[in-house]
Symmetry: C2
Subunit: 306 residues, 2 copies
Protein backbone atom coordinates (compact mmCIF):
# COMPACT_ATOMS: atom_id res chain seq x y z
CA UNK A 1 0.00 0.00 0.00
CA UNK A 2 1.23 3.49 -0.82
CA UNK A 3 1.86 6.12 1.83
CA UNK A 4 0.75 4.01 4.82
CA UNK A 5 1.40 6.80 7.30
CA UNK A 6 -0.94 9.17 5.46
CA UNK A 7 -3.59 6.54 4.95
CA UNK A 8 -3.58 5.60 8.61
CA UNK A 9 -4.33 9.22 9.49
CA UNK A 10 -7.31 9.23 7.19
CA UNK A 11 -10.92 8.69 8.10
CA UNK A 12 -12.10 5.18 7.41
CA UNK A 13 -14.80 5.45 4.75
CA UNK A 14 -17.96 3.38 4.66
CA UNK A 15 -19.62 3.32 1.23
CA UNK A 16 -23.18 2.13 0.71
CA UNK A 17 -24.75 1.82 -2.75
CA UNK A 18 -22.60 0.42 -5.52
CA UNK A 19 -24.79 1.10 -8.57
CA UNK A 20 -23.92 2.80 -11.84
CA UNK A 21 -22.63 5.86 -9.99
CA UNK A 22 -21.61 4.43 -6.61
CA UNK A 23 -19.40 1.66 -7.90
CA UNK A 24 -16.93 3.85 -9.86
CA UNK A 25 -16.96 6.40 -7.03
CA UNK A 26 -16.11 3.80 -4.38
CA UNK A 27 -13.48 2.33 -6.68
CA UNK A 28 -11.78 5.72 -6.99
CA UNK A 29 -11.67 6.07 -3.20
CA UNK A 30 -10.12 2.58 -2.78
CA UNK A 31 -7.54 3.24 -5.49
CA UNK A 32 -6.69 6.61 -3.89
CA UNK A 33 -5.67 4.69 -0.78
CA UNK A 34 -8.57 5.38 1.54
CA UNK A 35 -9.50 2.48 3.83
CA UNK A 36 -12.99 1.63 2.54
CA UNK A 37 -15.67 -0.74 3.82
CA UNK A 38 -18.60 -1.30 1.46
CA UNK A 39 -22.12 -2.66 1.51
CA UNK A 40 -24.60 -3.15 -1.31
CA UNK A 41 -28.06 -4.74 -1.46
CA UNK A 42 -26.80 -7.22 -4.07
CA UNK A 43 -23.40 -8.70 -3.13
CA UNK A 44 -21.81 -8.90 -6.63
CA UNK A 45 -20.78 -5.26 -6.75
CA UNK A 46 -19.40 -5.48 -3.19
CA UNK A 47 -17.26 -8.45 -4.23
CA UNK A 48 -15.90 -6.46 -7.18
CA UNK A 49 -14.89 -3.70 -4.75
CA UNK A 50 -13.33 -6.31 -2.44
CA UNK A 51 -11.16 -7.39 -5.36
CA UNK A 52 -9.94 -3.75 -5.55
CA UNK A 53 -9.00 -3.84 -1.87
CA UNK A 54 -12.17 -2.76 -0.04
CA UNK A 55 -13.54 -4.59 2.98
CA UNK A 56 -17.15 -5.69 2.94
CA UNK A 57 -19.86 -5.46 5.59
CA UNK A 58 -23.12 -7.35 5.80
CA UNK A 59 -25.37 -4.40 6.73
CA UNK A 60 -25.55 -0.62 6.72
CA UNK A 61 -25.31 -0.71 10.52
CA UNK A 62 -22.06 -2.66 10.31
CA UNK A 63 -20.66 -0.20 7.75
CA UNK A 64 -21.27 2.60 10.25
CA UNK A 65 -19.71 0.64 13.11
CA UNK A 66 -16.51 0.05 11.10
CA UNK A 67 -16.01 3.56 9.63
CA UNK A 68 -15.67 7.28 10.48
CA UNK A 69 -17.35 8.78 7.43
CA UNK A 70 -20.26 7.03 5.72
CA UNK A 71 -20.98 7.87 2.07
CA UNK A 72 -24.30 6.81 0.56
CA UNK A 73 -25.17 6.75 -3.16
CA UNK A 74 -28.71 5.40 -3.56
CA UNK A 75 -31.52 5.64 -6.13
CA UNK A 76 -34.21 7.65 -4.33
CA UNK A 77 -35.49 9.20 -1.09
CA UNK A 78 -37.08 6.01 0.36
CA UNK A 79 -33.81 4.11 -0.15
CA UNK A 80 -31.90 6.73 1.82
CA UNK A 81 -34.54 6.68 4.58
CA UNK A 82 -34.27 2.89 4.83
CA UNK A 83 -30.48 2.66 4.61
CA UNK A 84 -29.72 5.55 6.97
CA UNK A 85 -32.68 5.69 9.34
CA UNK A 86 -34.13 2.15 9.11
CA UNK A 87 -33.71 -0.85 11.38
CA UNK A 88 -30.16 -2.20 10.96
CA UNK A 89 -29.42 1.11 9.19
CA UNK A 90 -26.50 3.52 9.50
CA UNK A 91 -28.09 5.30 12.45
CA UNK A 92 -28.02 2.05 14.45
CA UNK A 93 -24.23 1.89 14.15
CA UNK A 94 -23.04 5.51 14.41
CA UNK A 95 -20.89 7.01 17.17
CA UNK A 96 -20.74 10.67 18.15
CA UNK A 97 -18.38 12.67 15.93
CA UNK A 98 -19.02 10.69 12.77
CA UNK A 99 -20.04 12.19 9.43
CA UNK A 100 -22.63 10.92 6.94
CA UNK A 101 -22.40 12.21 3.36
CA UNK A 102 -25.39 11.38 1.17
CA UNK A 103 -24.52 11.87 -2.49
CA UNK A 104 -27.83 10.49 -3.80
CA UNK A 105 -30.33 12.77 -5.51
CA UNK A 106 -33.30 12.87 -3.14
CA UNK A 107 -35.96 15.22 -1.81
CA UNK A 108 -34.59 18.21 0.12
CA UNK A 109 -37.16 17.44 2.84
CA UNK A 110 -35.73 13.92 3.24
CA UNK A 111 -32.21 15.31 3.42
CA UNK A 112 -33.30 17.62 6.23
CA UNK A 113 -35.02 14.72 8.04
CA UNK A 114 -31.85 12.63 7.81
CA UNK A 115 -29.77 15.55 9.06
CA UNK A 116 -32.07 16.14 12.03
CA UNK A 117 -32.13 12.47 13.03
CA UNK A 118 -28.34 12.10 12.87
CA UNK A 119 -27.80 15.36 14.76
CA UNK A 120 -29.56 13.76 17.74
CA UNK A 121 -26.76 11.16 17.77
CA UNK A 122 -24.02 13.80 17.57
CA UNK A 123 -23.40 12.93 13.93
CA UNK A 124 -23.03 15.57 11.19
CA UNK A 125 -24.78 15.08 7.85
CA UNK A 126 -24.02 16.58 4.45
CA UNK A 127 -26.24 16.31 1.37
CA UNK A 128 -23.95 16.33 -1.64
CA UNK A 129 -25.74 15.34 -4.85
CA UNK A 130 -23.70 15.37 -8.03
CA UNK A 131 -24.07 16.09 -11.70
CA UNK A 132 -22.06 14.75 -14.59
CA UNK A 133 -23.24 11.17 -14.82
CA UNK A 134 -21.32 7.92 -15.03
CA UNK A 135 -18.38 9.16 -17.16
CA UNK A 136 -17.69 11.93 -14.65
CA UNK A 137 -17.99 9.42 -11.77
CA UNK A 138 -15.36 7.21 -13.43
CA UNK A 139 -13.04 10.15 -14.09
CA UNK A 140 -13.53 11.93 -10.75
CA UNK A 141 -14.99 14.93 -12.59
CA UNK A 142 -18.37 15.23 -10.88
CA UNK A 143 -19.87 18.60 -9.97
CA UNK A 144 -20.83 18.42 -6.29
CA UNK A 145 -23.55 20.61 -4.71
CA UNK A 146 -23.21 20.45 -0.96
CA UNK A 147 -25.58 21.37 1.87
CA UNK A 148 -24.47 21.28 5.51
CA UNK A 149 -22.24 23.05 7.99
CA UNK A 150 -18.95 24.57 6.90
CA UNK A 151 -17.03 22.20 9.22
CA UNK A 152 -18.79 19.08 7.94
CA UNK A 153 -18.17 19.98 4.30
CA UNK A 154 -14.53 20.75 5.07
CA UNK A 155 -14.16 17.34 6.64
CA UNK A 156 -15.63 15.71 3.51
CA UNK A 157 -13.34 17.71 1.22
CA UNK A 158 -10.63 15.00 0.72
CA UNK A 159 -13.39 12.66 -0.47
CA UNK A 160 -14.98 15.30 -2.70
CA UNK A 161 -11.57 16.14 -4.17
CA UNK A 162 -11.18 12.52 -5.28
CA UNK A 163 -14.68 12.30 -6.79
CA UNK A 164 -15.31 15.72 -8.28
CA UNK A 165 -13.80 18.60 -10.19
CA UNK A 166 -15.66 21.22 -8.15
CA UNK A 167 -17.67 21.40 -4.95
CA UNK A 168 -20.01 24.32 -4.31
CA UNK A 169 -21.17 24.85 -0.75
CA UNK A 170 -24.75 25.88 -1.49
CA UNK A 171 -26.01 26.38 2.06
CA UNK A 172 -27.64 24.67 5.03
CA UNK A 173 -28.65 20.97 5.14
CA UNK A 174 -30.96 20.22 2.16
CA UNK A 175 -29.57 23.11 0.09
CA UNK A 176 -27.45 20.73 -2.01
CA UNK A 177 -30.60 18.84 -2.98
CA UNK A 178 -32.41 22.09 -3.83
CA UNK A 179 -29.54 23.02 -6.14
CA UNK A 180 -29.69 19.58 -7.76
CA UNK A 181 -33.46 19.94 -8.30
CA UNK A 182 -32.83 23.33 -9.91
CA UNK A 183 -30.16 21.73 -12.09
CA UNK A 184 -32.51 19.00 -13.28
CA UNK A 185 -35.23 21.56 -14.09
CA UNK A 186 -32.84 23.59 -16.23
CA UNK A 187 -31.44 20.53 -18.00
CA UNK A 188 -34.88 19.06 -18.81
CA UNK A 189 -36.34 22.34 -20.07
CA UNK A 190 -33.26 23.18 -22.12
CA UNK A 191 -33.44 19.75 -23.77
CA UNK A 192 -37.07 20.51 -24.58
CA UNK A 193 -36.11 23.93 -25.96
CA UNK A 194 -33.55 22.37 -28.28
CA UNK A 195 -35.97 19.59 -29.28
CA UNK A 196 -38.69 22.06 -30.29
CA UNK A 197 -36.25 24.30 -32.16
CA UNK A 198 -34.60 21.47 -34.11
CA UNK A 199 -37.94 19.82 -34.90
CA UNK A 200 -39.29 23.09 -36.33
CA UNK A 201 -36.09 23.47 -38.33
CA UNK A 202 -36.19 19.96 -39.80
CA UNK A 203 -39.87 20.11 -40.70
CA UNK A 204 -39.29 23.45 -42.44
CA UNK A 205 -36.81 21.66 -44.70
CA UNK A 206 -33.82 23.49 -43.24
CA UNK A 207 -30.56 21.79 -42.15
CA UNK A 208 -30.76 21.50 -38.33
CA UNK A 209 -26.98 21.01 -38.12
CA UNK A 210 -26.34 24.48 -39.55
CA UNK A 211 -28.97 25.98 -37.28
CA UNK A 212 -27.40 24.35 -34.22
CA UNK A 213 -24.04 25.73 -35.33
CA UNK A 214 -25.41 29.25 -35.80
CA UNK A 215 -27.27 29.18 -32.48
CA UNK A 216 -24.16 28.06 -30.58
CA UNK A 217 -22.62 31.43 -31.48
CA UNK A 218 -25.28 33.52 -29.75
CA UNK A 219 -27.62 33.83 -26.77
CA UNK A 220 -29.14 30.40 -27.48
CA UNK A 221 -25.79 28.75 -26.60
CA UNK A 222 -25.85 26.02 -23.97
CA UNK A 223 -24.00 22.83 -23.11
CA UNK A 224 -27.29 21.06 -23.85
CA UNK A 225 -27.51 22.53 -27.38
CA UNK A 226 -23.95 21.41 -27.91
CA UNK A 227 -24.06 17.86 -26.50
CA UNK A 228 -27.72 16.84 -26.56
CA UNK A 229 -28.37 18.78 -29.77
CA UNK A 230 -25.69 16.66 -31.41
CA UNK A 231 -27.28 13.48 -30.05
CA UNK A 232 -30.64 14.55 -31.54
CA UNK A 233 -29.09 15.19 -34.96
CA UNK A 234 -27.34 11.81 -34.89
CA UNK A 235 -30.31 9.94 -33.38
CA UNK A 236 -27.95 8.58 -30.70
CA UNK A 237 -30.02 7.95 -27.56
CA UNK A 238 -28.03 5.37 -25.61
CA UNK A 239 -27.70 6.70 -22.03
CA UNK A 240 -26.11 9.01 -20.82
CA UNK A 241 -28.76 9.93 -18.31
CA UNK A 242 -31.89 7.82 -18.45
CA UNK A 243 -35.34 9.33 -18.95
CA UNK A 244 -36.75 7.38 -15.99
CA UNK A 245 -34.13 8.85 -13.64
CA UNK A 246 -34.74 12.36 -14.91
CA UNK A 247 -38.48 11.82 -14.40
CA UNK A 248 -37.74 10.81 -10.80
CA UNK A 249 -35.66 13.96 -10.28
CA UNK A 250 -38.43 16.18 -11.69
CA UNK A 251 -40.89 14.51 -9.31
CA UNK A 252 -38.61 15.65 -6.48
CA UNK A 253 -38.53 19.18 -7.89
CA UNK A 254 -42.32 19.32 -8.28
CA UNK A 255 -42.89 17.92 -4.79
CA UNK A 256 -40.48 20.47 -3.31
CA UNK A 257 -42.20 23.22 -5.28
CA UNK A 258 -45.57 22.20 -3.90
CA UNK A 259 -44.22 22.12 -0.34
CA UNK A 260 -42.62 25.53 -0.72
CA UNK A 261 -45.60 27.12 -2.49
CA UNK A 262 -44.23 27.48 -6.02
CA UNK A 263 -45.97 26.75 -9.34
CA UNK A 264 -43.70 25.31 -12.03
CA UNK A 265 -45.88 24.91 -15.14
CA UNK A 266 -43.05 24.20 -17.58
CA UNK A 267 -41.41 21.61 -15.33
CA UNK A 268 -44.78 19.90 -14.86
CA UNK A 269 -45.31 19.83 -18.61
CA UNK A 270 -41.94 18.34 -19.50
CA UNK A 271 -42.40 15.75 -16.74
CA UNK A 272 -45.61 14.65 -18.49
CA UNK A 273 -43.78 14.29 -21.78
CA UNK A 274 -41.18 12.11 -20.03
CA UNK A 275 -44.11 10.08 -18.67
CA UNK A 276 -45.26 9.55 -22.26
CA UNK A 277 -41.81 8.30 -23.25
CA UNK A 278 -41.73 5.94 -20.27
CA UNK A 279 -45.22 4.70 -21.22
CA UNK A 280 -43.83 3.94 -24.69
CA UNK A 281 -41.08 1.84 -23.18
CA UNK A 282 -38.36 4.43 -23.79
CA UNK A 283 -37.55 5.14 -20.12
CA UNK A 284 -34.13 3.55 -20.49
CA UNK A 285 -33.06 5.90 -23.28
CA UNK A 286 -31.03 9.06 -22.80
CA UNK A 287 -33.14 12.11 -21.88
CA UNK A 288 -32.25 13.71 -25.22
CA UNK A 289 -34.69 11.15 -26.72
CA UNK A 290 -37.40 13.66 -25.81
CA UNK A 291 -36.67 14.74 -29.39
CA UNK A 292 -38.26 11.49 -30.66
CA UNK A 293 -41.58 12.46 -29.07
CA UNK A 294 -41.61 15.62 -31.19
CA UNK A 295 -41.28 13.60 -34.38
CA UNK A 296 -44.47 11.83 -33.26
CA UNK A 297 -46.14 15.20 -32.66
CA UNK A 298 -45.32 16.33 -36.21
CA UNK A 299 -46.87 15.64 -39.57
CA UNK A 300 -45.23 12.82 -41.51
CA UNK A 301 -45.56 14.77 -44.78
CA UNK A 302 -44.35 18.25 -45.62
CA UNK A 303 -47.53 20.12 -44.68
CA UNK A 304 -50.77 19.69 -42.81
CA UNK A 305 -54.17 20.87 -44.04
CA UNK A 306 -55.31 24.24 -42.70
CA UNK B 1 -13.34 60.77 -47.11
CA UNK B 2 -10.99 57.81 -46.66
CA UNK B 3 -9.98 55.53 -49.57
CA UNK B 4 -12.15 57.22 -52.22
CA UNK B 5 -11.07 54.77 -54.94
CA UNK B 6 -12.27 51.79 -52.89
CA UNK B 7 -15.50 53.47 -51.88
CA UNK B 8 -16.37 54.42 -55.44
CA UNK B 9 -16.08 50.73 -56.40
CA UNK B 10 -18.55 49.78 -53.74
CA UNK B 11 -22.24 49.10 -54.14
CA UNK B 12 -24.43 52.02 -53.18
CA UNK B 13 -26.47 50.91 -50.20
CA UNK B 14 -30.09 51.83 -49.61
CA UNK B 15 -31.17 51.41 -45.99
CA UNK B 16 -34.83 51.38 -44.94
CA UNK B 17 -35.90 51.20 -41.30
CA UNK B 18 -33.95 53.29 -38.80
CA UNK B 19 -35.34 51.98 -35.51
CA UNK B 20 -33.50 50.71 -32.43
CA UNK B 21 -31.57 48.21 -34.55
CA UNK B 22 -31.57 49.83 -37.99
CA UNK B 23 -30.23 53.21 -36.93
CA UNK B 24 -26.93 51.99 -35.41
CA UNK B 25 -26.52 49.51 -38.28
CA UNK B 26 -26.95 52.20 -40.95
CA UNK B 27 -24.65 54.49 -38.97
CA UNK B 28 -21.90 51.83 -39.02
CA UNK B 29 -22.21 51.50 -42.80
CA UNK B 30 -21.96 55.27 -43.32
CA UNK B 31 -18.96 55.52 -40.99
CA UNK B 32 -17.29 52.61 -42.81
CA UNK B 33 -17.40 54.72 -45.95
CA UNK B 34 -20.21 53.06 -47.89
CA UNK B 35 -22.35 55.46 -49.95
CA UNK B 36 -25.70 55.13 -48.16
CA UNK B 37 -29.16 56.48 -48.96
CA UNK B 38 -31.75 56.07 -46.21
CA UNK B 39 -35.49 56.23 -45.73
CA UNK B 40 -37.58 55.95 -42.59
CA UNK B 41 -41.30 56.36 -41.91
CA UNK B 42 -40.55 59.15 -39.44
CA UNK B 43 -37.98 61.62 -40.78
CA UNK B 44 -36.06 62.39 -37.54
CA UNK B 45 -33.90 59.27 -37.70
CA UNK B 46 -33.20 59.89 -41.39
CA UNK B 47 -32.00 63.41 -40.57
CA UNK B 48 -29.68 62.02 -37.90
CA UNK B 49 -28.17 59.69 -40.53
CA UNK B 50 -27.89 62.63 -42.95
CA UNK B 51 -25.81 64.40 -40.31
CA UNK B 52 -23.46 61.36 -40.40
CA UNK B 53 -23.14 61.71 -44.18
CA UNK B 54 -25.99 59.62 -45.58
CA UNK B 55 -28.30 60.83 -48.32
CA UNK B 56 -32.05 60.70 -47.74
CA UNK B 57 -34.86 59.55 -49.99
CA UNK B 58 -38.56 60.28 -49.71
CA UNK B 59 -39.83 56.75 -50.41
CA UNK B 60 -38.76 53.13 -50.48
CA UNK B 61 -39.10 53.21 -54.27
CA UNK B 62 -36.68 56.12 -54.45
CA UNK B 63 -34.21 54.30 -52.18
CA UNK B 64 -34.23 51.40 -54.65
CA UNK B 65 -33.81 53.72 -57.65
CA UNK B 66 -30.74 55.33 -56.08
CA UNK B 67 -28.91 52.23 -54.80
CA UNK B 68 -27.51 48.83 -55.81
CA UNK B 69 -28.15 46.90 -52.60
CA UNK B 70 -31.21 47.63 -50.46
CA UNK B 71 -31.09 46.65 -46.76
CA UNK B 72 -34.33 46.59 -44.76
CA UNK B 73 -34.62 46.43 -40.96
CA UNK B 74 -38.31 46.56 -40.04
CA UNK B 75 -40.52 45.47 -37.12
CA UNK B 76 -42.64 42.67 -38.61
CA UNK B 77 -43.78 40.74 -41.68
CA UNK B 78 -46.51 43.20 -42.78
CA UNK B 79 -43.98 46.05 -42.67
CA UNK B 80 -41.63 44.18 -44.98
CA UNK B 81 -44.50 43.32 -47.33
CA UNK B 82 -45.51 46.99 -47.50
CA UNK B 83 -42.02 48.43 -47.80
CA UNK B 84 -40.70 45.92 -50.32
CA UNK B 85 -43.75 44.80 -52.28
CA UNK B 86 -46.23 47.66 -51.74
CA UNK B 87 -47.10 50.60 -53.94
CA UNK B 88 -44.17 53.04 -53.99
CA UNK B 89 -42.17 50.18 -52.42
CA UNK B 90 -38.70 48.84 -53.21
CA UNK B 91 -40.04 46.60 -55.96
CA UNK B 92 -41.30 49.67 -57.85
CA UNK B 93 -37.76 51.03 -58.06
CA UNK B 94 -35.51 48.02 -58.60
CA UNK B 95 -33.39 47.25 -61.65
CA UNK B 96 -32.21 43.83 -62.80
CA UNK B 97 -29.03 42.74 -60.98
CA UNK B 98 -29.87 44.45 -57.71
CA UNK B 99 -29.83 42.76 -54.30
CA UNK B 100 -32.33 43.14 -51.44
CA UNK B 101 -31.18 42.06 -47.96
CA UNK B 102 -33.94 41.91 -45.36
CA UNK B 103 -32.46 41.79 -41.88
CA UNK B 104 -35.83 42.04 -40.08
CA UNK B 105 -37.17 39.08 -38.11
CA UNK B 106 -40.25 38.01 -40.06
CA UNK B 107 -42.16 34.88 -41.05
CA UNK B 108 -40.19 32.47 -43.25
CA UNK B 109 -43.21 32.32 -45.57
CA UNK B 110 -43.09 36.11 -46.07
CA UNK B 111 -39.36 35.91 -46.76
CA UNK B 112 -40.04 33.34 -49.48
CA UNK B 113 -42.84 35.49 -50.94
CA UNK B 114 -40.52 38.52 -51.08
CA UNK B 115 -37.81 36.40 -52.68
CA UNK B 116 -40.18 35.05 -55.32
CA UNK B 117 -41.58 38.49 -56.21
CA UNK B 118 -38.13 40.08 -56.56
CA UNK B 119 -36.82 37.14 -58.61
CA UNK B 120 -39.41 38.02 -61.25
CA UNK B 121 -37.65 41.39 -61.60
CA UNK B 122 -34.19 39.81 -61.88
CA UNK B 123 -33.38 40.87 -58.30
CA UNK B 124 -31.80 38.56 -55.73
CA UNK B 125 -33.12 38.50 -52.17
CA UNK B 126 -31.43 37.38 -48.96
CA UNK B 127 -33.16 36.96 -45.61
CA UNK B 128 -30.60 37.74 -42.92
CA UNK B 129 -32.13 38.15 -39.47
CA UNK B 130 -29.76 38.84 -36.61
CA UNK B 131 -29.34 38.11 -32.96
CA UNK B 132 -27.50 40.07 -30.32
CA UNK B 133 -29.76 43.09 -29.85
CA UNK B 134 -28.98 46.81 -29.80
CA UNK B 135 -25.52 46.63 -28.14
CA UNK B 136 -24.34 44.18 -30.80
CA UNK B 137 -25.84 46.39 -33.52
CA UNK B 138 -23.88 49.37 -32.18
CA UNK B 139 -20.64 47.37 -31.95
CA UNK B 140 -20.98 45.46 -35.22
CA UNK B 141 -21.14 42.19 -33.30
CA UNK B 142 -24.44 40.75 -34.53
CA UNK B 143 -24.86 37.07 -35.33
CA UNK B 144 -26.33 36.87 -38.82
CA UNK B 145 -28.38 33.89 -40.07
CA UNK B 146 -28.66 34.07 -43.84
CA UNK B 147 -30.98 32.39 -46.33
CA UNK B 148 -30.48 32.75 -50.08
CA UNK B 149 -28.16 31.78 -52.90
CA UNK B 150 -24.42 31.44 -52.33
CA UNK B 151 -23.75 34.27 -54.80
CA UNK B 152 -26.23 36.66 -53.21
CA UNK B 153 -24.82 36.08 -49.72
CA UNK B 154 -21.28 36.53 -51.00
CA UNK B 155 -22.28 39.84 -52.52
CA UNK B 156 -23.73 40.96 -49.17
CA UNK B 157 -20.61 39.87 -47.29
CA UNK B 158 -18.90 43.33 -47.08
CA UNK B 159 -22.08 44.65 -45.45
CA UNK B 160 -22.38 41.66 -43.10
CA UNK B 161 -18.71 42.03 -42.14
CA UNK B 162 -19.38 45.59 -40.99
CA UNK B 163 -22.51 44.67 -39.00
CA UNK B 164 -21.77 41.26 -37.55
CA UNK B 165 -19.15 39.07 -35.95
CA UNK B 166 -20.33 35.94 -37.79
CA UNK B 167 -22.60 35.06 -40.69
CA UNK B 168 -23.92 31.53 -41.07
CA UNK B 169 -25.34 30.58 -44.46
CA UNK B 170 -28.25 28.45 -43.26
CA UNK B 171 -29.77 27.50 -46.61
CA UNK B 172 -32.27 28.54 -49.26
CA UNK B 173 -34.44 31.70 -49.10
CA UNK B 174 -36.43 31.71 -45.85
CA UNK B 175 -33.89 29.48 -44.05
CA UNK B 176 -32.38 32.44 -42.21
CA UNK B 177 -35.80 33.23 -40.77
CA UNK B 178 -36.31 29.58 -39.76
CA UNK B 179 -32.99 29.68 -37.88
CA UNK B 180 -34.03 32.91 -36.16
CA UNK B 181 -37.35 31.35 -35.13
CA UNK B 182 -35.42 28.38 -33.70
CA UNK B 183 -33.14 30.81 -31.87
CA UNK B 184 -36.07 32.67 -30.31
CA UNK B 185 -37.65 29.37 -29.18
CA UNK B 186 -34.46 28.27 -27.44
CA UNK B 187 -33.89 31.66 -25.82
CA UNK B 188 -37.47 31.95 -24.51
CA UNK B 189 -37.58 28.41 -23.13
CA UNK B 190 -34.14 28.68 -21.56
CA UNK B 191 -35.20 31.89 -19.82
CA UNK B 192 -38.23 30.01 -18.52
CA UNK B 193 -36.01 27.12 -17.37
CA UNK B 194 -33.80 29.50 -15.40
CA UNK B 195 -36.83 31.36 -14.01
CA UNK B 196 -38.42 28.16 -12.69
CA UNK B 197 -35.15 26.89 -11.22
CA UNK B 198 -34.24 30.15 -9.46
CA UNK B 199 -37.79 30.63 -8.16
CA UNK B 200 -37.79 27.17 -6.63
CA UNK B 201 -34.40 27.89 -5.12
CA UNK B 202 -35.43 31.21 -3.58
CA UNK B 203 -38.70 29.89 -2.20
CA UNK B 204 -36.82 26.97 -0.61
CA UNK B 205 -34.77 29.52 1.31
CA UNK B 206 -31.58 28.75 -0.60
CA UNK B 207 -29.25 31.38 -2.08
CA UNK B 208 -30.05 31.49 -5.84
CA UNK B 209 -26.72 33.16 -6.56
CA UNK B 210 -24.78 30.14 -5.32
CA UNK B 211 -27.08 27.81 -7.23
CA UNK B 212 -26.57 29.78 -10.44
CA UNK B 213 -22.81 29.61 -9.83
CA UNK B 214 -22.88 25.84 -9.26
CA UNK B 215 -25.10 25.21 -12.29
CA UNK B 216 -22.84 27.24 -14.58
CA UNK B 217 -20.16 24.59 -13.99
CA UNK B 218 -22.22 21.68 -15.36
CA UNK B 219 -24.71 20.56 -17.99
CA UNK B 220 -27.16 23.32 -16.99
CA UNK B 221 -24.70 25.95 -18.29
CA UNK B 222 -26.03 28.45 -20.83
CA UNK B 223 -25.46 32.05 -21.88
CA UNK B 224 -29.01 32.68 -20.62
CA UNK B 225 -28.24 31.28 -17.14
CA UNK B 226 -25.19 33.53 -17.09
CA UNK B 227 -26.66 36.81 -18.38
CA UNK B 228 -30.40 36.57 -17.80
CA UNK B 229 -29.92 34.61 -14.56
CA UNK B 230 -27.87 37.53 -13.27
CA UNK B 231 -30.60 39.99 -14.32
CA UNK B 232 -33.17 37.93 -12.39
CA UNK B 233 -31.03 37.91 -9.26
CA UNK B 234 -30.50 41.67 -9.47
CA UNK B 235 -34.11 42.43 -10.50
CA UNK B 236 -32.74 44.42 -13.46
CA UNK B 237 -35.31 44.25 -16.26
CA UNK B 238 -34.58 47.31 -18.40
CA UNK B 239 -34.35 46.09 -22.02
CA UNK B 240 -32.30 44.37 -23.49
CA UNK B 241 -34.80 42.58 -25.63
CA UNK B 242 -38.39 43.56 -25.01
CA UNK B 243 -41.07 41.02 -24.06
CA UNK B 244 -43.44 42.33 -26.75
CA UNK B 245 -40.84 41.75 -29.46
CA UNK B 246 -40.09 38.24 -28.21
CA UNK B 247 -43.82 37.53 -28.17
CA UNK B 248 -43.99 38.64 -31.82
CA UNK B 249 -41.08 36.33 -32.70
CA UNK B 250 -42.75 33.37 -30.97
CA UNK B 251 -45.93 34.09 -32.95
CA UNK B 252 -43.82 33.69 -36.09
CA UNK B 253 -42.40 30.40 -34.80
CA UNK B 254 -45.84 29.06 -33.88
CA UNK B 255 -47.34 30.11 -37.23
CA UNK B 256 -44.45 28.45 -39.09
CA UNK B 257 -44.89 25.35 -36.97
CA UNK B 258 -48.57 25.19 -37.83
CA UNK B 259 -47.85 25.60 -41.55
CA UNK B 260 -45.17 22.92 -41.46
CA UNK B 261 -47.18 20.49 -39.33
CA UNK B 262 -45.28 20.67 -36.05
CA UNK B 263 -46.68 20.86 -32.50
CA UNK B 264 -44.63 23.04 -30.12
CA UNK B 265 -46.36 22.77 -26.72
CA UNK B 266 -43.61 24.41 -24.69
CA UNK B 267 -43.24 27.34 -27.08
CA UNK B 268 -47.02 27.86 -27.04
CA UNK B 269 -47.01 27.82 -23.25
CA UNK B 270 -44.20 30.35 -22.81
CA UNK B 271 -45.88 32.60 -25.40
CA UNK B 272 -49.00 32.61 -23.20
CA UNK B 273 -46.92 33.65 -20.18
CA UNK B 274 -45.46 36.51 -22.23
CA UNK B 275 -49.07 37.45 -23.11
CA UNK B 276 -49.79 37.65 -19.39
CA UNK B 277 -46.84 39.98 -18.86
CA UNK B 278 -47.97 42.17 -21.77
CA UNK B 279 -51.49 42.25 -20.29
CA UNK B 280 -49.94 43.48 -17.05
CA UNK B 281 -48.28 46.34 -18.89
CA UNK B 282 -44.80 44.78 -18.72
CA UNK B 283 -44.34 44.28 -22.48
CA UNK B 284 -41.61 46.90 -22.57
CA UNK B 285 -39.45 45.10 -20.01
CA UNK B 286 -36.57 42.76 -20.84
CA UNK B 287 -37.67 39.17 -21.54
CA UNK B 288 -35.86 38.03 -18.39
CA UNK B 289 -38.76 39.69 -16.51
CA UNK B 290 -40.61 36.40 -17.10
CA UNK B 291 -39.04 35.72 -13.69
CA UNK B 292 -41.41 38.28 -12.12
CA UNK B 293 -44.42 36.25 -13.24
CA UNK B 294 -43.12 33.31 -11.21
CA UNK B 295 -43.03 35.42 -8.06
CA UNK B 296 -46.75 36.03 -8.67
CA UNK B 297 -47.28 32.28 -9.12
CA UNK B 298 -45.64 31.57 -5.75
CA UNK B 299 -46.85 31.81 -2.19
CA UNK B 300 -45.97 35.05 -0.46
CA UNK B 301 -45.21 33.18 2.79
CA UNK B 302 -42.85 30.29 3.39
CA UNK B 303 -45.33 27.47 2.88
CA UNK B 304 -48.76 26.78 1.46
CA UNK B 305 -51.38 24.63 3.17
CA UNK B 306 -51.55 21.03 1.93
Amino acid sequence: MLWPSIVSDRDRIGFIGLGIMGRPMATRLVRAGFPVVVHNHSPEAAEALAAEGAETASSSREVAERSDVVVTMLPDSPDVETVVLGEDGVIAGVREGMLVVDMSTIAPATARTVHAALTEHGVEAVDAPVSGGEPAAVDGQLSIMAGGSEAAIERAEPIFAELGKATTHIGAPGAGQVAKAANQIVVALTIQAVAEALTLTSKAGVDPGRVREALLGGFAQSKILEAHGERMLEGRFDPGFRIELHRKDLAIALQSAREDGVALPATAQVAELLNALIAQGSGGLDHSALFTLYAQLSASGEETPD
